[in-house]
C-alpha cells in the first residue's frame, strides 16, 4: 500500500480543515454572543434599596423602597426611622400603587369647557403656568381674591408654599394636623403650656379611651399600632388593660378588654362622672392639685353637684356600678392614662385632660407629656373655608388645591362641584384624577411621593424631634414637576413681590437648605439604630453632643442616606414646669347635665338636641375607616379590598346597626338596606353589631367619586350627601329600610 495520500484522503482532510476553521469561527462567535447575553443577565435583576418618606397621611413615616433594575417593587418601613422602626401600615405600602396608578395625570392639562362632563386637553408646562399666573395676577385685586387649600404639612416645602401664596395676597386654609384641632389648644387652655400632648401608651398599665382609635389610626398610625402592641405585651409579666368608650364597635372596641357603647355626645358626661367619683371617694391628691390649680374648689363643686353617678347613669345608660368600678380601676393600677379621639368635642377633650391631671398622669412614665414647640400660627380650617365658598359667603376669583384632603374631610363641602360653580377659576396641583382635579380648570400635577424630595415635620406623637428627609427614590414616571419648581415657575410668571419671595428654584434647593440647617444645629443625629438613638438621648440629657460626621457635607449625606434626622432629647417635665408658676392650672367648669348643655356642637349633639323627627328615628354617625383616610391618592385597589373586614364587605360602604334594629329589619349577613335622610338616600350593606346603642347607626365614609380613578369609581358613592346642608354635624337623622 502506498503512503501517498489519495485523492479521497485529500478531499476528506481538506474538507475537515475547512469545516474546522468555519465551525470554529461560528463556535467562537456563538460563544461570544452567549458571553454578551450572560453579561446582560448580570446587569439585570439588580436589587437596590432607597429611603423615602410616606406622605399618605401626616405621620411622616420613613420608608424603604425595594427596586429591581431601578423599578420599585415593594415598600417597607425604614428600620432607622424612629417613627416607623421598619414597620408600615397598609396605606404606606399602597403608595407603590400610587406611583404606577394607571389613572395618574400624564402632565399639565386644562379644562376644555365648564359645565357638563369634565374634559381636559394637554397643555405644555409653559402655557399651563402662564394661564395659572395670569388668573392669579388678575384675582389679586378682587375682594375675596385667592383662596389656597392644603393639608397642614410642615417643613421647608410648606413654608415655601406659604411664602409664595402670602406674597400673592392669597388666603391660606389648611386641613389640620390631628393634634392641632382640639388637643393642643385645650392642653394650652388647661395648663398654659404651648405644647403638643404626647401620650405614652407603651408604658401605661391601663388605658381608658374615649373614642380614640388606638388600634386603627390614632395621631400617627404606625406609632399607635406599635405602642398598642407594646402596651399589651411589651413586658412578658404584665399586660396593659384597655377600656374603650365608643359609639360604635370600632377595631379598637373589638380589641378592648371592655367596650362601653356610649354615644359621642354623652361621653363627656361619663368622663366627668368618673372624675366626680374620684372626688367623692377621696381618690385624688387634693393638696397637690390645690398647689397648682386655682379653681379646684369650683371644679369639685360642679362635679359633685351635677355629675353624681346616678345623674350620669341616667344620662349615658352606663350603670352606676360600672361608673364606680371604672373610677376605682383607674386609680388602682400603677400607670393609668386617659386618651381621647383627636377630633372630639371641646367638652370631652377638657374632661379627658382633667381626668389625667386628677389621676396624676401628667409628666409621668406611661402618662401624658407635653412637647414644646414655638406657638403655632392661627390657621384657617380648610373644610370651614370651603363650606363658606360653597355657600356663597366667600367669593374668591381663584381657588387653589394642593391636594384633595379638604374635599374628603367629614366636615367639608358635601358637593365639591358647587365650588366650581361658585369660583371662576380652580387650580389643582394634585397628581391624581381626584376630587380636586375633577373641578379644576387647570391642573399642574406635582410629583408623587416616591418621586419627591422630602423634608417634613411629622404629626406629633413621639417625644423626640424627628425630621424625615429623603431624595427621590425613583425616577419621575410622567410629565410632572416637584412642588418647589412649580412654585418657582409660577412666581417668576407672576413677577413682582411674588417672584422676590421665591429664593429657590426646586424642592431639592429647599430640602438641601433644610439639611444644611440641621447640620449646623449642633444637636441631634442622622437616623441611627434604636440603641444609638438612646445613647444620643443619654448624651444630650447630660449636656453633651456627639458629632455624627466630620463635616457639614458629610453630615448632610448621612441624613439623606439614612432617611432623616432625629433629636432624641426630650424634656419630660415640660407640663410640670408650666404649672410651677403657681396655680396656673385652670380646670374647665362643666355645666349641668343634660348633654345638650355640655357637649360641643360638632360631636353628634346636634342630632340628640334636635326634637326627634318620627320620619327619621335613627341617629347616623359617620366614621372614616383607617385604610380610607388618606390625604393622597384614593385610587388604591389593595386598600378597597380591606374595607369592612373582618365582616366580609370589601369594596363597599357599610352601615353598622344594633341587634335590636337588625332584628326588626330582618338583617342577616350581607343584607342591603336603604338609608334615607331629609336630603338624600343611599343603598349600602348592613352589618349587625351586638351591643350597639339603640337608635344609633354608624356609616363608613370612603373616598369614592364618579370623576376619580377607575377603582375609586367602583365605590362611586359619596355618603356625605345624606348630611345635606350641615356637613359639619357628625350625626344626621335617617330612616333605615331593608331593600
Amino acid at each position: 500500500m502506498s503512503d501517498a495520500p489519495s485523492r479521497r484522503d485529500f478531499l476528506v482532510y481538506s474538507g475537515a480543515a475547512i469545516a474546522g476553521v468555519t465551525l470554529g469561527e461560528t463556535g467562537r462567535r456563538w460563544l461570544g454572543r452567549m458571553d454578551e447575553r450572560a453579561a446582560g443577565w448580570r446587569d439585570r435583576g439588580i436589587e437596590t434599596f432607597a429611603v423615602s418618606v410616606c406622605r399618605e397621611c401626616l405621620a411622616g413615616c420613613g420608608i424603604r423602597v425595594r427596586l429591581v433594575d431601578g423599578v420599585p417593587v415593594k415598600i417597607d418601613g425604614n428600620p432607622l426611622c424612629p417613627i416607623a422602626r421598619g414597620r408600615l401600615c397598609a396605606k404606606g405600602q399602597a403608595a407603590l400603587e400610587s406611583y404606577f396608578d394607571p389613572d395618574r395625570l400624564l402632565g399639565p392639562a386644562h379644562r376644555i369647557a365648564r359645565g357638563g362632563p369634565a374634559r381636559w386637553e394637554p397643555l405644555p408646562w409653559k402655557d399651563a403656568v402662564a394661564l395659572a399666573a395670569d388668573k392669579i395676577t388678575r384675582a389679586a385685586g378682587t375682594p375675596d381674591g385667592i383662596v389656597v387649600v392644603a393639608a397642614d404639612e410642615r417643613g421647608p416645602e410648606a413654608e415655601a408654599w406659604t411664602r409664595v401664596w402670602r406674597a400673592a395676597g392669597a388666603r391660606l386654609a389648611w386641613t389640620p394636623q390631628p393634634t392641632a384641632v382640639r388637643l393642643r389648644p385645650r392642653l394650652r387652655h388647661l395648663t398654659g403650656a404651648e405644647a403638643d400632648p404626647i401620650f405614652d401608651i407603651e408604658h401605661s398599665s391601663y388605658v381608658l379611651s374615649f373614642g380614640a382609635p388606638l388600634a386603627d389610626d390614632w395621631l400617627s398610625g404606625v406609632w399607635a399600632q406599635r405602642s398598642f402592641g407594646r402596651f399589651r405585651r411589651g413586658v412578658a409579666s404584665s399586660r396593659g388593660r384597655l377600656v374603650q368608650i365608643d359609639g360604635r364597635r370600632s377595631a379598637t372596641a373589638r380589641k378592648a378588654d371592655e367596650w362601653l357603647a356610649v354615644a359621642p355626645d354623652q361621653q363627656s358626661a361619663l368622663a366627668y362622672g368618673i372624675a366626680s367619683v374620684l372626688f367623692r371617694e377621696n381618690r385624688v391628691d387634693r393638696e397637690r392639685l390645690a398647689s397648682v390649680a386655682g379653681n379646684l374648689g369650683n371644679f369639685e363643686h360642679q362635679l359633685l353637684t351635677y355629675y353624681t353617678p346616678d345623674n350620669v347613669a341616667s344620662e349615658t345608660g352606663v350603670p352606676v356600678v360600672t361608673i364606680l368600678r371604672m373610677a376605682r380601676e383607674l386609680v388602682a393600677t400603677p400607670r393609668p392614662l386617659v386618651i381621647v379621639e383627636a377630633g372630639a368635642s371641646v367638652a370631652l377633650v377638657d374632661a379627658v385632660l382633667s381626668l389625667n391631671v386628677l389621676i396624676g398622669a401628667i409628666d409621668r412614665r406611661g402618662g401624658l407629656f407635653g412637647r414644646g414647640d414655638d406657638p403655632l400660627p392661627e390657621r384657617d380650617d380648610a373644610a370651614a373655608v370651603l363650606r363658606d365658598v360653597a355657600e356663597g359667603r366667600l367669593r374668591p376669583s381663584v381657588l387653589v388645591f394642593a391636594d384633595s384632603s379638604a374635599l374628603r374631610a367629614l366636615g367639608g363641602p358635601n358637593r365639591p362641584e358647587t365650588l366650581a360653580e361658585r369660583v371662576p377659576f380652580v387650580i389643582s396641583f394634585s397628581p391624581y384624577v381626584d376630587e380636586a382635579a375633577a373641578i379644576a380648570d387647570v391642573i399642574l400635577p406635582a410629583d408623587v411621593p416616591l418621586e419627591r424630595w422630602h423634608a417634613m415635620v411629622p404629626a406629633a406623637a413621639l417625644g423626640a424631634e424627628v425630621i424625615p428627609v429623603a431624595a427621590p427614590a425613583v425616577k419621575r414616571r410622567l410629565d410632572t414637576r416637584d412642588t418647589g419648581s412649580l412654585l418657582h415657575a409660577l412666581a417668576v410668571a407672576i413677577g413682582g413681590p411674588v417672584e422676590a419671595a421665591c429664593s429657590w428654584t426646586s424642592s431639592e434647593d429647599l430640602v438641601r437648605a433644610e439639611v444644611k440647617r440641621l447640620a449646623t444645629a449642633k444637636r441631634g443625629t442622622p437616623f441611627v439604630t434604636t440603641y444609638e438613638t438612646e445613647w444620643m438621648q443619654q448624651l444630650e440629657s447630660g449636656g453633651w453632643w456627639a458629632q455624627a460626621a466630620d463635616s457639614d457635607a458629610a453630615f448632610s449625606d448621612r441624613v439623606l442616606a439614612s432617611g432623616g434626622w432625629v433629636d432624641p432629647y426630650f424634656d419630660a417635665g415640660q407640663l410640670t414646669e408650666a404649672l410651677r408658676g403657681g396655680r396656673s392650672l385652670s380646670f374647665p367648669l362643666p355645666e349641668a347635665l343634660p348633654s345638650a348643655q355640655i357637649a360641643g356642637r360638632a360631636t353628634g349633639a346636634d342630632a340628640a338636641a334636635e326634637p326627634p323627627d318620627t320620619r327619621f328615628p335613627i341617629a347616623l354617625v359617620a366614621f372614616q375607616p383607617a385604610v380610607a383616610a388618606t390625604s393622597g391618592n384614593a385610587n388604591l385597589p389593595a386598600l378597597f379590598e380591606l374595607l369592612g373586614q373582618p365582616d366580609g364587605v370589601p369594596w363597599s360602604l357599610w352601615v353598622e346597626i344594633g341587634s335590636e334594629l337588625a332584628e326588626r329589619l330582618g338583617v342577616q349577613a350581607r343584607t342591603r338596606v336603604r338609608l334615607t335622610s331629609a336630603h338624600a338616600s343611599l343603598d349600602v350593606m348592613a352589618v349587625r353589631v351586638e351591643g350597639m346603642p339603640a337608635g344609633v347607626a354608624a356609616l363608613s365614609i370612603v373616598p369614592g367619586a364618579q370623576t376619580a380613578g377607575r377603582w375609586s369609581r367602583l365605590i362611586g358613592k359619596d355618603p356625605r350627601r345624606l348630611w345635606g346642608n350641615d356637613p359639619a354635624a357628625r350625626a344626621c337623622a335617617v330612616q333605615i329600610a331593608r331593600i
Partner: protein
C-alpha cells in the same frame, strides 16, 4: 433540618391588615373588583376573619393564612402531587403540576387555598410593580401562602455566597416584616432557643381548629390575661 413556624400574638394584633397588603405586593396577587369580591373570589393569601374565641366578649379578628399543617389534608387528596409537605415543613405548591381539580380547596378546613378563576391581570402601567422573584399563577391552578418561600431561597443563596450558615434574621416573610404592632414572630420551631419555639410552647398558645388534628405550624397566642 429547620421546621419553619409562625406565631401570631392576638393580644398585640390590631387587625390593621398591613400584612394583607404586604403579602399582596410581595407575591403578585392581582386586584379584585366588587364583582369578584361579591362572589367570594378575593385573591388574598391572608385574610382577616371574625372568630369567636373563648373568653372574649365579641368576635376577634384573626389573620388567617395557610396554616402549614404537619398533617395537611390538602396534600392527601391531591391527585398529581402538586401540593406536598416539604422537608422543612412548608406545604408547597407546584403550579405546573396543578390540574385545577380543587380537591385541595375542599379538603382544607381553613379555606385558605384559592383557585384562579381568571388569568391574573394588572393594568399595563402596573406591570412593573410585580415582584420578579415570584411568578404569577395562571388561570386554573390553586395557590396559597408559601411563607414567602422565595425569600428563603434568596436568603440561603446569600448566606452561601457569604460562606456562612443561614441566620434566623435572614429569612422573614413579608407579613412578619411589616407588622406595625410587632404581633408576628417567625422562625425555626425545631430550634429550642428560638423565640418562635418559646412562644409556640407558651401557656397562651393555641392552634386554630386544632381538634381536627392537622397540627398547624401557625400558632396563635390568645388574647387576655
Amino acid at each position: 433540618m429547620s421546621r419553619w413556624g409562625l406565631v401570631i400574638d392576638l393580644d398585640r394584633c390590631t387587625g390593621c391588615q398591613a400584612c394583607v397588603v404586604a403579602c399582596k405586593h410581595e407575591n403578585n396577587l392581582p386586584f379584585s373588583t366588587p364583582e369578584t369580591a361579591d362572589v367570594g373570589r378575593l385573591m388574598t393569601w391572608i385574610q382577616l376573619v371574625a372568630a369567636d374565641l373563648p373568653g372574649r366578649p365579641m368576635p376577634s379578628s384573626l389573620p388567617l393564612m395557610c396554616q402549614q399543617c404537619d398533617r395537611p389534608p390538602c396534600t392527601d387528596v391531591c391527585p398529581t402531587s402538586a401540593t406536598y409537605l416539604n422537608p422543612e415543613g412548608i406545604v408547597a405548591q407546584i403550579y405546573p403540576r396543578c390540574i385545577g381539580c380543587r380537591y385541595c380547596t375542599n379538603a382544607c378546613p381553613y379555606a385558605v387555598k384559592i383557585f384562579n378563576w381568571t388569568e391574573p391581570e394588572w393594568p399595563e402601567s402596573m406591570a412593573g410593580m410585580r415582584n420578579p422573584d415570584v411568578s404569577a399563577r395562571p388561570k386554573g391552578v390553586v395557590e396559597k401562602c408559601t411563607f414567602c418561600h422565595h425569600r428563603l431561597i434568596a436568603a440561603r443563596e446569600r448566606a452561601r455566597v457569604a460562606g456562612r450558615e443561614l441566620a434566623p434574621e435572614d429569612y422573614v416573610p413579608a407579613c412578619v416584616q411589616i407588622c406595625p404592632a410587632e404581633a408576628m414572630t417567625f422562625g425555626d420551631l425545631s430550634d429550642p432557643h428560638s423565640d418562635v419555639a418559646a412562644l409556640a410552647s407558651g401557656p397562651r398558645a393555641f392552634r386554630w381548629m386544632e381538634e381536627l388534628g392537622t397540627q398547624p405550624k401557625v400558632v396563635y397566642l390568645r388574647e387576655g390575661e
